[in-house]
């Protein structure tokens, strides 16, 4: 009898590729698993780094999440591999944040980290580039100061584009709680940014 988890048919070529890699990794093919890591490590690191302000802790959380994914390949129930990995990373990030809360270290060293700055991209006006940098810095600073739960909900909704139901499922809370965290989190951000709102009113 065929394993029902392996029979998920999908038209999405990316998802089909991911499922094939998962099947091969389940069979002990480490290279297949590492192909998944290569596909998603940038995205997942960005997700976790927005939730865990400390860069080293974010890296550790992502590494732990990939370890966990490898260990629990057998429990993958089909569907989107990307969502499955994201869920594992969100949990790892929230755990890291709670650990940080219990054991505070140097507060937010990453704020001086240049990698938070926006890339120049197509913007050529020096004044606009400076304003964009200031805005990013101010917003990251404020995001680092709201609660872990609010930050997770806002990052997942505004940055990652998940809907309320997906966030509720990922974080294990009700739909109403997700909405409340997002609305209250944004109000908290506005309060923290009160003196610098001109950067956002463009």
């Amino acid at each position: 009898m065929e394993d029902p988890r392996s029979t998920t048919v999908t038209d999405d070529p990316v998802q089909r590729r991911d499922l094939i890699l998962v099947e091969r990794a389940r069979g002990g093919d480490l290279d297949a698993f590492n192909d998944l890591v290569i596909c998603y490590q940038d995205h997942l690191f960005a997700l976790v780094a927005r939730m865990v302000p400390d860069r080293d802790q974010a890296s550790d959380a992502v590494q732990e999440a990939f370890f966990s994914a490898y260990r629990n390949l057998g429990t993958f129930r089909g569907g989107s591999v990307r969502s499955w990995l994201s869920r594992i990373c969100v949990n790892a990030a929230m755990d890291a944040q709670r650990a940080r809360k219990r054991r505070p270290v140097q507060p937010y060293p990453e704020l001086e980290d240049e990698s938070w700055q926006p890339r120049a991209g197509d913007e050529t006006d020096p004044q606009r580039i400076v304003i964009a940098g200031e805005r990013t810095r101010a917003l990251n600073d404020a995001l680092a100061r709201i609660t872990v739960d609010q930050r997770a909900a806002i990052v997942l909704f505004d940055v990652e584009g998940y809907d309320y139901a997906e966030i509720a499922e990922m974080t294990g809370v009700s739909l109403g709680t997700v909405k409340s965290r997002i609305h209250r989190g944004r109000l908290a951000l506005r309060l923290l940014l009160e003196g610098r709102m001109e950067l956002f009113r463009g």
């Binding site: 029902p4 988890r5 002990g28 480490l30 698993f33 590492n34 890591v37 290569i38 490590q41 940038d42 690191f45 960005a46 780094a49 927005r50 860069r55 974010a58 890296s59 992502v62 590494q63 732990e64 999440a65 990939f66 370890f67 966990s68 490898y70 260990r71 629990n72 057998g74 429990t75 129930r77 594992i88 949990n91 790892a92 755990d95 990698s115 938070w116 700055q117 926006p118 890339r119 805005r135 990013t136 917003l139 990251n140 995001l143 990052v155 505004d158 940055v159 909405k179 409340s180 997002i182 609305h183 209250r184 944004r186 109000l187 951000l189 506005r190 709102m197 956002f200 009113r201 463009g202």
Partner: protein, 260 residues
């Protein structure tokens, strides 16, 4: 009909404003939210700011990864389950939904079975306790009687209790004879009390109480006369309980741990 809005901005519902800014209010609340935004400039400014913050958050540049997260072969060896752990993981991965309710069901059945099979025993010991204490209450002097008197003549005391136990419980017999049979020592405590003798003691004026000896009395020295536990049921229940707990343990061990 909508509620009258508070006059002061400080009393306005900012969560409602945030929800409206996100386009996330129910139809019933929307009118109230729109009235609030139309009548309060500060609330309208907050709503605009929240929208701007959401846009800026979505446009945040992605932090740049500083480490490669691919697994090395030694990591894989360390993480890969082996032996019994692999079995447990396979169990956790199974989609046999029938297995999931089995653990609580077996545990509950086992507990109930154990309770039911042990009930007669509990009742028996409870009866002994109560009859002993009632005897002690009837005659305070009894509790201080020496136990060796009973140990010296257990058969005699059992026989005597068959004849005179009813009247002694009613307090008509001499006080020293009572503790020797009912509360003096382990043998008396086990042999004399039974639900039947308690019942007949209360109804001792009737002819049956006076003539019928309690069946539990006189079994033999040192042998409990109460009802025996249902051993097969107890064994079956214990087996079910152990199976249920083992399934619980297996489920717990095989549960995916997303963050570790």
């Amino acid at each position: 009909m909508t509620d009258r809005l508070p006059a002061s901005h400080a009393d306005h519902d900012l969560v409602l404003v945030a929800a409206r800014a996100a386009g996330d209010v129910e139809a019933a609340e929307r009118t109230r939210a729109d009235e609030l935004l139309a009548s309060c400039a500060a609330c309208a400014q907050i709503a605009a700011d929240l929208r701007a913050i959401a846009v800026a958050t979505a446009a945040l540049p992605a932090p740049v990864r500083t480490r490669d997260f691919t697994l090395r072969p030694q990591d894989a060896d360390r993480l890969r389950p082996s032996g019994w752990r692999r079995l447990v993981t396979a169990f956790g991965a199974t989609r046999l939904e029938l297995i999931r309710p089995l653990a609580p069901a077996l545990t509950t059945l086992g507990l109930v079975g154990l309770l039911v099979s042990g009930l007669p025993l509990v009742q028996g010991s409870g009866g002994a306790f109560f009859s002993g204490s009632s005897a002690a209450a009837a005659s305070p002097a009894a509790s201080s009687a020496p136990a060796p008197a009973v140990a010296a003549a257990p058969a005699a005391s059992a026989a005597a209790s068959a004849d005179t136990g009813l009247s002694t419980v009613k307090g008509t017999a001499p006080a020293p004879s009572l503790p020797e049979r009912t509360v003096g020592g382990p043998i008396a405590g086990a042999a004399s009390p039974s639900p039947i003798s308690d019942t007949t003691a209360e109804g001792s004026h009737g002819p049956r109480a006076a003539t019928t000896p309690p069946p539990s009395v006189g079994v033999g020295p040192g042998i409990a006369a109460g009802p025996e536990p249902n051993v097969p049921l107890a064994v079956a229940s214990a087996t079910l309980l152990i199976l249920g707990l083992a399934l619980f343990g297996l489920r717990r061990a095989s549960r995916p741990r997303p963050t570790r």
